[in-house]
């Protein structure tokens, strides 16, 4: 059973198509990166999942059930455009937001006390949000997102505006939540986040899904079978691999990029190399998510 299953979701506005037949499969307990350039349709999709707007077509099911109003309490959402009531005290704010998600007052009180203790912000309970620093407000915001213990947590650009210390704290807590059974969706274009945290990734561009899968699958799909070899003395190669570049590093040391031909294996390639040169290092060139992302988006727009 998937945490979230979207089938053929479409949304049209009068002048443009925001989502065009998007299908996503988000497994349980994954950290799922929803990538895409600005205006690709990520926020529209997230708003549909949060039932802020309705899709024109398609179906969404959440933990095996058709998405309905009762799932509001199942989801925790931290939007990109986020804020708090400035004039409201931290405590009242947390209680109010949790109650809106369906918690009873006493539950809300108990959980918010637990979280502020965990985040070491107990003293702020009676402080107004306008008196807090930005970092403090972000902590409160995060608490309000996860306080009702949602099984599905959707974070839209969660680290934008977070200082490194807070970002680290949030990261730790996200991982902890995942380990405790929650599924997390990241909507972001910060590739470090994706590289570090996500295990599943989908790329949306121009309202269409371009690619989806585990990070490993995607990297395997888009790797170019290139290897970087550091060696002593020059050589030329035919057959097993094609030489892309060969550069002198210093003295007699050279760096060569090889592109392995179809049917070859890395081990065999190393064997061939050892025969013709003194190999100092041999590394497979795996594309970063950032490279894949940029290539796909650019390739897509060149069509």
């Amino acid at each position: 059973m998937e945490a979230l299953l979207a089938k053929g979701v479409s949304k049209r506005y009068t002048e443009h198509v925001a989502l065009d037949d998007v299908t996503l499969t988000i497994p349980q307990q994954s950290i799922y990166g929803l990538l895409g350039p600005n205006g690709a349709g990520k926020t529209t999709l997230i708003r549909i999942v949060n039932q802020i707007i309705n899709a024109d077509a398609g179906e969404i099911s959440i933990f095996g059930e058709k998405l309905a109003e009762k799932h509001i309490g199942t989801i925790g959402y931290l939007p990109e455009e986020r804020g708090l009531y400035k004039k409201l005290k931290v405590g009242e704010q947390l209680l109010y937001l949790a109650q809106l998600k369906g918690l009873s007052r006493s539950e809300a009180l108990e959980r918010s006390k637990k979280w502020i203790t965990k985040f070491e912000i107990k003293d702020w309970w009676n402080k107004k949000v306008e008196d807090l620093s930005k970092g403090m407000a972000q902590k409160v915001q995060f608490i309000s997102t996860v306080m009702h213990e949602p099984k599905l947590i959707i974070l839209d650009e969660p680290f934008s505006g977070f200082d490194p210390v807070n970002a680290q704290l949030i990261t730790e807590n996200i991982l902890e939540l995942r380990d405790n059974g929650s599924t997390i969706i990241f909507s972001t274009h910060r590739m470090e986040t994706v590289e570090d945290l996500c295990d599943h990734v989908a790329l949306i561009n121009k309202s269409k899904k371009i690619v989806e899968g585990t990070k490993k699958q995607i990297k395997d799909t888009y790797k170019s079978n290139s290897f970087e070899v550091l060696h002593k003395g020059t050589f030329t190669m035919n057959g097993a691999a094609e030489m892309v570049t060969q550069q002198k590093v210093e003295d007699d040391f050279y760096k060569t990029i090889l592109k392995m031909n179809a049917g070859g294996s890395p081990n065999k390639l190393i064997g061939d190399l050892i025969a013709i040169t003194e190999v100092h290092s041999f590394i497979e060139k795996v594309p970063t998510m950032s490279e894949i992302f940029i290539n796909l988006v650019k390739g897509n727009s060149n069509e």
């Binding site: 802020i52 309705n54 509001i72 986020r82 708090l84």
Partner: protein, 442 residues
């Protein structure tokens, strides 16, 4: 429903817990009477403590004798006008009054010379002195003595009786009805405007503080809008109730304690003092019946019905306009930007308000008054202003039904704009954009 209730509670507490609410709620009913009372007090004191003004009189006709009064002290001049003017100019006195030789039948040529522009009141007082004397001269001319004149003076009071549809007779007093309609109409106008703008402000705050997307992921935009509207309405009703209680309490206890008389009463007493006994008695008798009648009329006014109609139209008008204000708030990013949309909303409210003064209070049963109090946009102000004059039941019911229909309609329209508007920031909004938002499928 449960969530709307949560929002209503939050909105209510947010506002009621503010210091400004406490201050406004307690001070407003104290400040206004204090200002009015203070002004009356100063006026009374001034007129009491004022020194008599010195008036030089040059009476060429020789027909006048002046007696000094509380207000004026007269100095008789005998010289030519030019000399008298020069002489007056050297003094610090109030005025020089010039009376030429005149024809009693056609008195003309009187003049007053002053250094500063005199108040209308003082000039009027002097005119009264002259007029009284000329009247006496005329009486002499026609051989009428004062006693005969007093006997001639006749005063007729029309007892106003309105007959209801069932043939029941009620005495009425258009003065009281006018006052009642006036006050109630203004109250509705003020409340709808003040609380409507509070709704708009609240929506804009949520938008600018960017809390709104978090909230609408938990509740429907429509629930958020209704929660806010109802929450502020309850603040308004609470504030209103407190005001009435404070005003009732303060006016009854304080006025009673100090034994302060109403200004009209004071004027009456002053007038009485100046009259002779006979006139006094007569006036007293008239006054007594007047007072009795007034009290009777007050008893005749269906206050319970008026209160009910007032509350109904206050809530109806508030909901109708409140929804529109919420829609405006959702469409803009700041109060400044809201101006262009606020105007068309406040316009019909203003029409109702103007209509109240120009049409309804003068002709409460005319066709204009009818339409103003039937059309939902103007009916809250107009009907409340009109109700005291007696409105046929079918008109009242029609107006109420239309008002309910009206606010359901505006709430529906506003809700459609609101749900899109709150998530749009940084967009340049005009009426075309609003129409587009309205058309968007959910």
């Amino acid at each position: 429903m449960n969530k709307i209730w949560l929002i209503v509670q939050r909105e209510f507490l947010n506002r009621v817990q503010k210091k400004s609410f406490l201050i406004a709620t307690i001070l407003v009913p104290l400040i206004f009477p204090a200002i009015i009372g203070g002004m009356v007090w100063f006026m009374v004191r001034e007129s009491e403590s004022a020194k008599a003004e010195i008036v030089h009189v040059l009476d060429e006709s020789g027909k006048f004798t002046f007696e000094n009064s509380k207000k004026f002290e007269f100095v008789v001049e005998k010289d030519k006008l030019e000399v008298a003017k020069e002489k007056y100019n050297k003094t610090e006195d109030f005025a020089l009054l010039y009376i030429p030789v005149f024809d009693v039948a056609k008195p003309e040529g009187f003049a007053i010379y002053t250094k500063e522009n005199p108040s209308i009141e003082k000039v009027g007082d002097l005119e009264n002195v002259l007029e009284d004397r000329i009247r006496d001269l005329k009486l002499e001319q026609y051989n009428i003595d004062k006693a005969t004149l007093a006997g001639l003076k006749t005063k007729v009071n029309l007892k106003q009786v309105s007959i209801t549809e069932t043939g029941e007779e009620k005495s009425s007093n258009s003065g009281i009805l006018y006052g009642l309609g006036f006050v109630l109409g203004i109250l509705i106008y003020m409340f709808v405007l003040i609380y409507g703008i509070q709704i708009m402000q609240g929506v804009i705050d949520e938008k600018t503080s960017k809390i709104v997307e978090v909230i609408v992921s938990s509740v429907k935009p429509f629930q958020l809008m209704m929660g806010k509207i109802i929450g502020i309405a309850s603040v308004g009703l609470l504030q209103f109730t407190i005001w009435i209680l404070i005003i009732t309490f303060v006016s009854s206890s304080v006025l009673g304690y100090f034994g302060v008389k109403m200004p009209q009463q004071q004027m009456q007493e002053q007038m009485m003092n100046q009259m002779d006994a006979e006139q006094k008695e007569e006036l007293q008798a008239v006054q007594n019946t007047k007072v009795d009648e007034l009290m009777g009329n007050l008893g005749q006014i269906p206050f319970v019905k008026i209160a009910f109609v007032f509350i109904f139209f206050f809530l109806g008008g508030y909901l109708l306009y409140g929804a529109l204000f919420a829609a405006v708030g959702s469409a803009v990013d700041s109060i400044q930007e809201s101006q262009q949309f606020q105007f068309p909303i406040t316009l019909p409210l203003l029409v109702g308000y103007m209509g109240l003064f120009l049409v309804i209070l003068r002709d409460p049963h005319g066709p204009m008054s009818f339409w103003l109090s039937i059309i939902p946009l103007t009916s809250p102000v107009a009907m409340v202003g009109r109700i005291a004059f007696g409105v046929p039941t079918w008109e009242l019911v029609l107006s109420m039904v239309l008002l309910v229909g009206g606010f359901i309609f505006t709430t529906w329209v506003a809700g459609r704009i609101y749900r899109v508007g709150i998530l749009m920031s940084g967009t340049k909004v005009n009426y075309k954009v609003l129409a587009k938002w309205f058309m968007i499928k959910n």
